[in-house]
């Protein structure tokens, strides 16, 4: 029981608070920005570039089980997903499925 309380304390202090502080700052700033302002356009560009970099890092440095696939397979599968998005009427669900199935097939055919 004390172990459980200790664990909750660790997660609250080192996990929740350290994450929420950035969300808190985000609300503070977000309340003071005019919608459609140029500053917000810049924030949009920053967030977009950041998530794009996150995806590329996951391709180059795959965490956990994703490492059981080759870099080539991951890049081809991601490209197939984006192509699928434009080919299949801009459906996100179908495109994501294309990406995952491509990863499976490429790895299955060519090996990890």
């Amino acid at each position: 029981m004390t172990d459980t309380i200790g664990l909750v304390g660790v997660i609250l202090a080192a996990g929740w608070a350290t994450t929420y502080v950035w969300r808190f700052v985000g609300v503070y700033i977000g309340q003071r920005m005019a919608p459609d302002s140029e500053l917000l356009m810049w924030v949009r560009a920053v967030a977009t570039a950041l998530v794009s970099a996150l995806v590329v890092r996951l391709l180059l440095v795959p965490p956990g089980m994703l490492g059981h696939t080759s870099l080539e397979a991951r890049v081809v599968a991601m490209a197939a997903g984006v192509a699928g998005f434009y080919l299949f009427g801009r459906g996100i669900g179908a495109a994501v499925a294309v990406a995952a199935v491509s990863l499976f097939l490429v790895t299955w055919v060519f090996g990890a």
Binding site: W16, A49, F85
Partner: protein
């Protein structure tokens, strides 16, 4: 949460919207996370609690890894907070889209806890047709539905860890980066958005080589600013 500024009848609509594609994709990631928790032997509780309390997968992965290594409180906190800085621009964008005059600030701070990449994408892709007073409740519903589901999925992954083949697990894990990347294209409205995607993809790996902890922040700030500046001229508001 006081006041009549928000239209809370939108809450169940948001719940339903979240349990489509974003929910399925997220479920795959959290099954993967549950399997990771099993592998690290930190106990199911640490993994399950990190889902509603941290609610951002990269931070959760850092947390359970460092906790498993027996790292100190300050070290874990620093590792997690470095992964969480990236949430700041997303929160700013979502808040500016949902806030209404005279609306409760407490509701904004409560909503912010749900905001991570997926909720930002859900807001960008599916919320624009909602009237402004309905947006915060709509997104809160989406967040609540996803969070409740992902607590279950974390447990499911913990249990499924031994059943999944490595290739199948890899394909499940691949759904999340695919969803993030494809939804960037789906939400792109300006030339700037495409330039941001390209520059982030190029700058990230270069910075990662030298400063692996700062790659995302640097790629976001440098790539985003460049994209903003080079497309500034000639861009018109829609």
């Amino acid at each position: 949460m006081s006041g009549t500024a928000y239209d809370w009848t939108a809450l169940p609509h948001g719940m339903r919207a979240a349990l489509g594609v974003p929910g399925i994709v997220m479920a795959a990631s959290f099954i993967g996370f549950g399997a990771l928790v099993r592998g690290l032997e930190v106990g199911l509780l640490a993994g399950v609690l990190s889902t509603p309390l941290i609610w951002a997968l990269p931070g959760q992965v850092v947390f359970v890894n460092m906790y498993a290594e027996g790292a100190g409180l300050a070290a874990i906190g620093l590792g997690v907070t470095l992964t969480a800085v990236r949430l700041l621009p997303m929160v700013v964008l979502v808040i500016s889209k949902v806030r209404v005059e005279g609306g409760s600030r407490l509701a904004l701070y409560a909503l912010s806890h749900f905001i991570a990449v997926t909720i930002w994408r859900v807001a960008e892709d599916g919320m624009d047709h909602e009237e402004r007073p309905r947006r915060l409740p709509w997104l809160m519903g989406a967040g609540l539905a996803l969070m409740a589901s992902m607590i279950v999925m974390t447990c499911a992954g913990y249990v499924l860890a031994q059943v999944l083949t490595p290739l199948l697990a890899a394909c499940l894990m691949f759904l999340t980066p695919s969803f993030f990347f494809i939804s960037l294209f789906a939400g792109a409205k300006f030339t700037m958005d495409y330039v941001s995607i390209a520059l982030g993809a190029v700058i990230g790996p270069v910075v990662y080589r030298f400063y692996p902890e700062l790659d995302l922040i640097a790629a976001g700030l440098v790539g985003g600013t460049l994209a903003y500046v080079v497309t500034r001229i000639g861009r018109r508001k829609p």
